[in-house]
Symmetry: C2
Subunit: 154 residues, 2 copies
DNA sequence: ACATACCGTACCAAGGTGGTACTGTTTGCC
DNA sequence: GGCAAACAGTACCACCTTGGTACGGTATGT
C-alpha cells in the first residue's frame, strides 16, 4: 500500500533520539518511555539498527545504545534500507533465490522503465535527507523536477 | 514494505494497453491473455479503473473497456490514486473515523515534517508522468533536487 | 552476587494481498 | 425469442506480512 512500516517509523524516531544525544549511551527503555511506545518494539528496532551499523550498543548494567557517527553522512535512505531491507517499488527488478527474474513479462512490460526511474527517484529523495537534518527538525524539501535527468534506461 | 501492490501494477498494464488502442473497445479477456495474467484479476482492476473514471466500459456482447480520454492529461498519479486509494507514507497525517489524528506523538514527532515533504515529493513524481508517456515507453526520468523548493511546513 | 540491559529466537493475532467463484444484468446476433 | 458474450457485484479463501509479546541467554557495572 505504498507506505513505510510502523517498525521503520519507530526506527527513525529512535535514531533521531540517539543522534540528538550523540555520543551519549541511552537505554532502550528511555527511548520507549519518551515516545510512549512499547519497549519490545524499540529494542527490536534498535537491534536491527545496530546490526546495520547505524548505532552502537553497549551491554550490561549502564549499557544501552548510542549514535557515535557523523549525522551529516548518515542518510534517511541508509536508515530505511537498514530497517526495511532492500526494496523495489515493483517486482520487475527483483529476482528469486536462483537469480531469475520474478516477472515473466519483464521484457515487454510497458511500466517497467518508468517504475525503475521512479524507484530511483524515490530512493534518491531518501538519500538526500541527512540524519543531521532530521535531528534538527528543519525541512530541506525535496522537489522533483521532470526532465531534469532524462535517462533512456535499457 | 514501500512497494505498490501487484493489483495496482496490473491496473497500470491494463490502462496502458487500452491507451495504446485509444477509442477502441477491448474485452478484458484480450488484455488478460496478452499479459498472461489471470482474467479475474484483470476484470477486477478494470472495474476499479472504470469506477474511478479512468476508462469507459461497455456491457453486453462485443462489449469491453476503452480509453477515450486524453492520455496527456491523465497522470500516473491519478491512476495509482484510483487503484490504491488515498495513501500516506506514514500514518502521521492520517485520521480515524472521528477525524482525530491517529498518531499520538504527532506534535513532537521529529520525522513528521520530513515524511510529509517526501510524501509530497513522491506524489509529485507520480503526478508528473503522463499516461501518454507511459504508453510511448519513453522515460522522462524524474530527478529529485534537494533544496529546490525549501518549504518550512508548519 | 545481583540487577541492569542488550541478544536471539520464537511465537501469535490481526489485517492486507492475491486469487477464485458465483450469481446477476446488459447487449449483440441468429 | 433465445443464446452467448461480456461487464457488475459480492463473497470467499489461503497466504503472507505486520505489529506486538514472551522468554531464556549473555555481558557488565556495583
Amino acid at each position: 500500500m505504498l507506505k513505510i512500516s510502523r517498525l521503520t517509523d519507530y526506527g527513525l524516531l529512535a535514531t533521531v533520539y540517539l543522534a540528538r544525544k550523540a555520543g551519549e549511551v541511552v537505554a532502550a527503555r528511555e527511548i520507549a518511555t519518551f515516545y510512549h511506545l512499547p519497549l519490545p518494539m524499540i529494542t527490536k528496532v534498535l537491534k536491527t539498527l545496530h546490526a546495520g551499523g547505524i548505532v552502537q550498543s553497549y551491554r550490561g548494567a549502564g549499557g544501552g545504545y548510542s549514535f557515535d557517527g557523523d549525522a551529516d553522512i548518515v542518510t534517511l535512505g541508509q536508515i530505511i534500507e537498514t530497517l526495511e531491507g532492500p526494496w523495489n517499488l515493483v517486482e520487475c527488478e527483483s529476482v528469486d533465490e536462483s537469480g531469475h527474474a520474478v516477472c515473466s513479462i519483464r521484457v515487454a512490460c510497458p511500466s517497467r522503465r518508468f517504475m525503475f526511474g521512479i524507484n530511483r527517484a524515490i530512493k534518491g529523495a531518501f538519500e538526500q535527507v541527512t540524519l543531521a537534518e532530521l535531528t534538527q527538525g528543519t525541512m530541506p524539501f525535496a522537489a522533483i523536477k521532470k526532465q531534469e535527468l532524462v535517462q533512456q534506461h535499457v
